[in-house]
């Protein structure tokens, strides 16, 4: 069959188009469309066959297409401070200027907020609901201040899921089908397993995975991990990477992997190519980040409590000690030579802990690290010359360490 010849990259592009076309089509046919936060319990939405679009994905696409400033200027003009997350600024502006060269999305009829990544999304989604006069389904997920996630937090989140189901039933006028939920859960877990297996292949040296691809594939993990297409994509991606690994191939055909680093934080979408090429020029492959695990949302099928746990254990929702240990583990597992921290002006949640995590991980592992200033979508916070100097400084330190045989 023709289809089996598709590469995962082609399939990824197809699915992205299908995802957005589906939502636009639904809207055109008068069916309701939702907007949701990235790490949302999409299982609930899939079960109800809802059309869901993810503003963070969309804003990232706008950033990568270098058209963020049109939206950012508008948002700041209507009073959103430059200190607010640029995804939020872009998305709020999009509600007034609903057209982007990168991609159009339909405006929502309901907004779904899962607050397991930060507190910014709470206000952002509240503002969306208020401005667009649509219902808000709010899934409160308190931050885990203790190292382990306490049972009461899991129980609480399960309660939040139950009430969200009720609200979604009322909104859609459909009965929530728990048998179908079981199916979706099964598929979602399987997709996550392929995603994790694929990204874990980067543990081999050289890594068959070019880490920047992870940034791109991730968009589909956000929006399609609970359906057959998503499942197929990540299985295919895994198979391709496995074949590469078995052939002894590294991340790129035109250069060799000389250093293996972790990238902490979100991509710098408006400067994606600069940030990538500068690393590649020195033979640096970004082999991992905190993302492989953030979308490895795994639990026992038919266990709503387990699912609740899976949606509160993500890195962004965990305390400093956990974050530190987690990064330390990545340094060992992925045999890292260094860490590059993206001090992302947008994301207070990630930045606040970054200095201390960096200090501790350095002390625990001895590997060199550096930090650069940027922003996930606001192009103004990044300086190419500063980035280059920091990256080159990192290379010089990694060389020293290699020369000393560590």
């Amino acid at each position: 069959m023709e289809e089996t010849k598709l590469t995962s990259k082609q399939f990824l592009n197809e699915l992205t188009a299908k995802h957005y076309d589906g939502a636009l089509q639904a809207k055109a046919e008068g069916k309701p469309v939702a907007w949701a936060v990235s790490i949302s319990p999409q299982e609930l939405f899939e079960t109800l066959d809802m059309h869901v679009v993810y503003p963070e994905n969309h804003a990232a696409a706008i950033g990568a297409r270098k058209e963020a400033m049109k939206f950012i200027d508008h948002a700041e003009g209507i009073g959103y401070s430059a200190d607010i997350c640029s995804y939020a600024r872009i998305n709020m502006a999009y509600t007034d200027i609903p057209h982007a060269e990168a991609q159009d999305i339909p405006l929502p009829d309901v907004v779904l907020c899962s607050a397991n990544i930060c507190t910014t999304v709470m206000k952002w989604w509240e503002n969306l609901a208020k401005k667009l006069r649509v219902p808000l389904v709010f899934i409160d997920t308190p931050f885990n201040h203790t190292y382990e996630v306490p049972d009461h937090a899991v129980e609480y989140l399960r309660g939040q899921f139950e009430s969200a189901i009720k609200q979604l039933e009322d909104f859609s006028g459909k009965r929530f089908d728990f048998d179908k939920l079981g199916e979706v859960m099964k598929l979602s877990n399987a997709t996550c397993q392929w995603w994790k297996a694929a990204t874990d292949l980067a543990q081999f040296t050289p890594s068959p995975l070019n880490g920047f691809d992870m940034f791109n594939y991730m968009a589909i993990m956000v929006c399609m991990r609970g359906n057959a297409d998503g499942h197929k994509l990540f299985k295919l991606w895994y198979e391709e990477l496995l074949a590469k690994k078995e052939a002894g191939l590294g991340p790129w055909s035109s250069a060799e992997e000389k250093y293996r680093i972790m990238w902490d934080g979100i991509a710098c979408w408006p400067h994606l190519s600069t940030t990538f090429k500068t690393l590649k020029k020195y033979g640096i492959n970004m082999v991992t980040s905190t993302y492989p695990e953030s979308w490895n949302v795994r639990y026992e099928t038919n266990d709503l409590t387990g699912m609740a746990r899976a949606y509160t254990v993500n890195y962004a929702n965990r305390n400093l000690d956990f974050g530190t240990d987690y990064l330390k583990k990545l340094v060992d597992q992925f045999n890292l030579d260094g860490v590059l921290y993206h001090s992302n002006r947008s994301c207070k949640l990630m930045d606040f802990r970054q200095y201390e995590v960096r200090r501790r991980v350095e002390a625990m592992t001895g590997i060199p690290t550096t930090m650069f200033d940027g922003d996930q979508t606001d192009p103004r916070s990044f300086s190419e010359a500063q980035y280059e100097t920091r990256v080159q400084g990192l290379v010089e330190m990694m060389d020293k360490r290699k020369a000393a045989g560590r």
């Binding site: 200095y355 200090r359 350095e362 930090m371 400084g393 010089e396 330190m397 020293k400």
Partner: protein, 261 residues
């Protein structure tokens, strides 16, 4: 002869080293990347050393303008070059504070004088030489006069804005309400010191702390930083040329290592 070139945002520096690893000449020209500053600096240094371009066996370029400069054999970051320069000039130094035109950096060295960590200013010009330039302009004095002026102060005016532009208007209004220029100058030094000290603390300060870059010529600034860090701070000799000196050390070392192979 071994040549080190440091092309910064507002000045160009050159150093020449002979094959006994002795410093032969340095030159500093206050014109940075994108100007003919580097050529003037090269000419001056060659003249002082009594050599021509042909006598250079190996050259290393560093600094903000290193990426676009095509005539050197190798390019290295100013981080490593400052580390090498300081290790050459002041053996045993463990922390370097370099305040340049548009960035400030703190470099931590190991016992062998190798860079093991660094921090650089974030987001903006606060805590850099540019901040002091703006302050000098408001105070109506030259950058070189700030130190003498501040030493006449009888108190420190606090400058609360981190932003250089806001700090400028803050200082203007302080002068308007009768603060003396001397006290404001001291305030500017304390403000930069606080920013830089924050960066030092993130990297971890170990003595000896050495200050490099043109700002190290400002004795009052060196003293303010020492106060903030609660640690003695030494101004590097030939402080503006430290990066270029480090680059010449790197040129010497690279050449010797290649010859051994």
């Amino acid at each position: 002869m071994f040549l080190g070139i440091d092309i910064g945002s507002s000045s160009s520096k050159v150093a020449l080293m002979n094959d006994k690893k002795e410093l032969v000449a340095t030159a500093v020209v206050n014109k940075g990347t994108g100007t003919d500053g580097v050529h003037s600096a090269l000419e001056q240094a060659f003249l002082k050393a009594g050599i021509t371009k042909e006598d250079v066996q190996f050259s290393v370029v560093t600094g903000y303008g290193r990426v676009t400069y095509k005539d050197a054999d190798k390019q290295i970051t100013e981080l490593t070059c400052h580390a090498k320069g300081v290790a050459y000039l002041i053996p045993g130094a463990r922390t370097i504070v370099d305040i340049g035109g548009q960035d400030a950096k703190v470099i931590k060295l190991n016992e062998k004088g190798e860079m093991i960590n660094f921090g650089m200013n974030e987001k903006c010009a606060a805590g850099t030489g540019r901040f002091l330039e703006v302050m000098a302009r408001v105070l109506g004095c030259g950058l070189g006069d700030l130190s003498d002026l501040a030493q006449k102060s009888d108190k420190t005016v606090s400058i609360s804005s981190v932003c250089t532009v806001f700090a400028e208007s803050e200082v203007i209004s302080q002068l308007a309400t009768g603060e003396t220029p001397a006290n404001v100058a001291r305030g500017a030094h304390v403000s930069v010191s606080k920013r830089v000290a924050g960066m030092c603390n993130r990297v971890g300060v170990e003595p000896t702390v050495v200050m490099t870059g043109g700002v190290a010529l400002n004795a009052d600034m060196v003293r303010c930083l020492s106060n903030e860090l609660s640690s003695p701070v030494t101004a590097a000799p030939n402080c503006q040329a430290v990066g270029a000196i480090g680059a010449s050390v790197a040129a010497y070392e690279t050449f010797m290592a290649r010859r051994e192979q």
